[in-house]
């Protein structure tokens, strides 16, 4: 699961659905991997408007890789865009857990696939 996707998923349980404080899911005991892909400046520009920046900062702090630049800096500097690309799209979570900050429900990640299947009582 790419870190980009982590910036978009939120807790899906009945109590948390649609609530702002159920975001971002906190990664725990994770193994990260890097996979090189080509930079697509158009897509980065598109996605930059969609990213929840405070959420991204929180997630990266939890991963122990704090961001060294701000959103405004990225908008002006092409090199930083490349760095953001490597963080968001080239870095993937291979194994680990994602914990909801609100209800502490744990979503497991295996082989890079996060499982969002819920037990019936949480739907």
């Amino acid at each position: 699961m790419k870190l980009l996707t982590l910036n978009f998923v939120q807790c899906a349980t009945r109590d948390c659905a649609g609530r702002q404080d159920a975001f971002p899911l906190a990664p725990q005991n994770v193994q990260l991997a890097a996979q090189e892909t080509d930079l697509d400046p158009d897509f980065m520009a598109n996605i930059l408007a969609k990213i929840d920046w405070p959420g991204l900062e929180t997630s990266l702090n939890q991963l122990g890789r704090p961001l060294t630049f701000t959103k405004e800096q990225v908008e002006q500097d092409q090199n930083l865009l490349k760095e953001l690309h490597s963080i968001l799209i080239e870095t993937t979570i291979q194994e680990g857990e994602l914990v909801c900050p609100r209800c502490s429900h744990i979503y497991h990640v295996k082989d890079g696939i996060a499982s969002f299947l819920l037990p019936p009582h949480l739907v």
């Binding site: 996060a114 969002f116 739907v123």
Partner: protein, 262 residues
């Protein structure tokens, strides 16, 4: 042709052997590619969009999305299908998720959503907790919020019958989507394809009031003001006659005012 929906729940039907059979079949690959291209055609997206693929399976449709230069996130309920997607090394990100439990993304995430041959599965009742109506409404509500404003969604699906088709359309409307059904090849029984094209809360534009006459006569005037004095007297006399009372004969003088000269 049998319907896989009637055989078993999706996560069980698409087991390892069925998933590899499905993905390996060149006929299915071709049909899936055709349908994905048609759906993209209907979406008419700018390049480099961020798309949600619902029921992505082994990534057959996602491959086409990548080829067209889009980025996608796929969700599917069958682990075997996702396993094959991993082996095929697809570009998109994949999640194991049941669409009937809602789309787990924050509001405004995606530019568009696409779904090829998947949402008819929502009409299944595979366990005692399943209520198709609830699952459909949960799915469309969460999808609506996860799309950006004016974002589009195209679903190719195989409804079992007209009732099922209408149920799905209705659920989408109730969730706030506008749009409708595009039917390709409607004459052919085998190649007939349903595409549901939905828009999430696009701007409705101004209401066109050109050439519209506003009808003022709607407001009904009271009986009293439209009725003349003579009409009133005739009406009352008629009523009395019917009740058997003795009434003066009608003449041209009925209801006339008596002059002072008389």
């Amino acid at each position: 042709m049998s319907r896989p929906e009637q055989e078993a729940p999706p996560e069980i039907f698409y087991n390892d052997s069925e998933a590899s059979k499905y993905t390996g079949s060149s006929r299915i690959q071709r049909i899936q590619a055709e349908m994905t291209l048609r759906a993209l055609d209907l979406l008419s997206l700018p390049p480099s969009s961020y798309i949600l693929d619902i029921g992505c399976g082994s990534g057959l449709s996602g491959e086409i999305l990548s080829e067209e230069g889009h980025y996608w996130v796929g969700m599917d309920i069958s682990p075997s299908m996702l396993q094959i997607a991993l082996e095929r090394d697809v570009d998109g990100d994949i999640l194991l998720s049941d669409m009937g439990q809602g789309v787990p993304f924050r509001p405004g995430s995606f530019d568009a959503a696409i779904s090829i041959s998947a949402i008819q599965w929502l009409c299944n009742v595979d366990s005692s907790e399943h209520d198709p109506k609830y699952r459909l409404s949960k799915f469309f509500q969460t999808l609506f919020s996860s799309l950006k404003r004016g974002g589009r969604a195209v679903f190719q699906f195989y409804p079992a019958n007209d009732t099922q088709r209408d149920t799905i359309l209705h659920a989408a409307k109730v969730a706030g989507f506008t749009g409708g059904l595009v039917i390709d090849d409607p004459e052919s029984k085998k190649n007939k394809k349903y595409y549901m094209v939905l828009v999430a809360g696009g701007s409705p534009g101004d209401i066109n009031l050109d050439g519209v006459a506003i009808d003022n006569t709607m407001k009904q005037k009271s009986k009293k003001s439209t009725e003349s004095r003579k009409q009133y007297i005739m009406r009352k006399k008629e009523l009395m006659k019917r009740r058997g009372e003795r009434v003066a004969k009608d003449s041209k003088y009925t209801g006339r005012k008596r002059r002072t000269r008389f």
